[in-house]
């Protein structure tokens, strides 16, 4: 077939067009967050003293600073990663803000408590629940974001998948933070990243297989 004829075929298909990819991504983000929030409210729920700690505990509030501090740059990364000519590196510095703040908070907390309680704070019996619930709550946002990414044309499929994983896990961690009664940055700084990293890694593997276009 010569290219003139090939062009005829594409031109006839001109009216079949999808909505702009950034709108699809935003739509799927909203959908994923809502789905996960409904599941959370139904099956898990916030901790009973959520209103009191929200007013009184900086450590409780700080959990949301950290999780949203990952979620927002992850969304900006996704907006770049979904395009063939996207500029992912311009957003990367923002991604370091929350981890650095968390590391400082961990250091501050560890220095202000007796050294023998540091280990028991980190190794609180809740850790496996923390990791697994972050993974479970990430499922719906991940599916929605991954679908949106498939409509895109990511320059790097594995990276795009990892970013879907990172963003969905950050959303999951934000919800989970309102349930979990472990507020110490020492606990948060160890186990939240484990859950988020696991989902991110799954995203990278899925992306490298399923996000090619």
């Amino acid at each position: 077939m010569n290219t003139d004829n090939f062009i005829s075929m594409l031109a006839v298909d001109a009216s079949d067009r999808e909505r702009p990819i950034e709108r699809t991504l935003l739509l799927m983000l909203v959908f994923g967050v809502l789905a996960s929030a409904v599941f959370f409210a139904w099956q898990i729920g916030t901790r009973p003293d959520v209103m009191t700690v929200a007013m009184q505990s900086w450590e409780f509030v700080f959990k949301f600073v950290v999780t949203l501090g990952v979620a927002i740059p992850a969304y900006l990364l996704a907006r770049q990663a979904m395009r063939p000519d996207g500029n992912v590196t311009s957003v990367v510095p923002l991604l370091f803000v929350a981890p650095v703040m968390l590391a400082i908070a961990m250091g501050y907390t560890a220095m202000n408590m007796p050294s023998e309680t540091v280990v028991s704070t980190v190794m609180a019996p809740n850790w496996s629940k923390c990791v697994s619930l972050i993974a479970v709550l990430a499922v719906a946002p991940f599916a929605a974001l991954f679908y949106a990414m498939r409509q895109g044309a990511p320059a790097n499929p594995a990276l795009a998948g990892a970013i879907c994983g990172l963003l969905s896990a950050a959303i999951a961690a934000t919800l989970y933070a309102s349930h979990c009664d472990m507020d110490s940055p020492l606990f948060v700084g160890v186990w939240y990243p484990v859950g988020i990293a696991a989902v991110t890694a799954i995203g990278a593997v899925a992306g490298s297989r399923l996000l090619r276009w």
Binding site: M1, S8, R83, W213
Partner: protein
């Protein structure tokens, strides 16, 4: 491209025609080291154009279109070079010759697309052939085959997606 994205068939056809003339030298240069026949270059040009067509909603309209087109072209050319078992360096400049390019041959036959489309099932193949070989519009194909125009468009769009899937799987 803006009006083309808006669904204007005439503007889109003109855009695609300019695009094919701009892409040909870029692909030819990218494949200079692997001595590709003109028909093979044309295969790649068409593959790039199909990707641009199916992914045109990923162009950020607030930005120039050249880098976006080049990013897609580079991506597809690297896939193709990989398929040939060689890692190629693909030139990233050249897109700005866009409007100067001209006087090339749109009549070169490409083989990949013909081969793949011949595997489509009956009705889908008839529709593609009526459009590409006879130059029919969707309306005319619909009348000829006794289908609705919408059904013709849906079938064509599916065929194009199937074509992209085959390109990808053979990579």
């Amino acid at each position: 491209m803006r009006s083309a994205i808006g669904g204007d068939e005439v503007a889109y056809r003109r855009f695609l025609s300019d695009l094919s003339r701009a892409l040909r030298p870029i692909v030819r240069r990218g494949f200079a080291g692997v001595s590709a026949a003109p028909s093979e270059v044309e295969d790649v040009v068409q593959e790039v154009m199909l990707a641009i067509h199916l992914k045109r909603h990923t162009w950020d309209q607030s930005k120039p279109i050249g880098p976006w087109i080049m990013a897609i072209a580079r991506n597809k050319m690297i896939d193709d070079l990989r398929r040939r078992g060689r890692r190629g360096e693909v030139p990233i400049d050249g897109m700005m010759d866009f409007l100067e390019a001209g006087g090339q041959d749109d009549a070169i036959q490409a083989h990949d697309v013909t081969r793949i489309l011949s595997r489509l099932s009956g009705k889908n193949r008839e529709i593609v052939q009526a459009i590409t070989l006879s130059g029919f519009s969707a309306r005319e194909v619909a009348d000829k085959l006794g289908m609705s125009e919408v059904a013709v468009r849906v079938s064509l769009h599916r065929s194009l997606k199937a074509l992209a899937d085959v390109y990808r799987e053979t990579n």
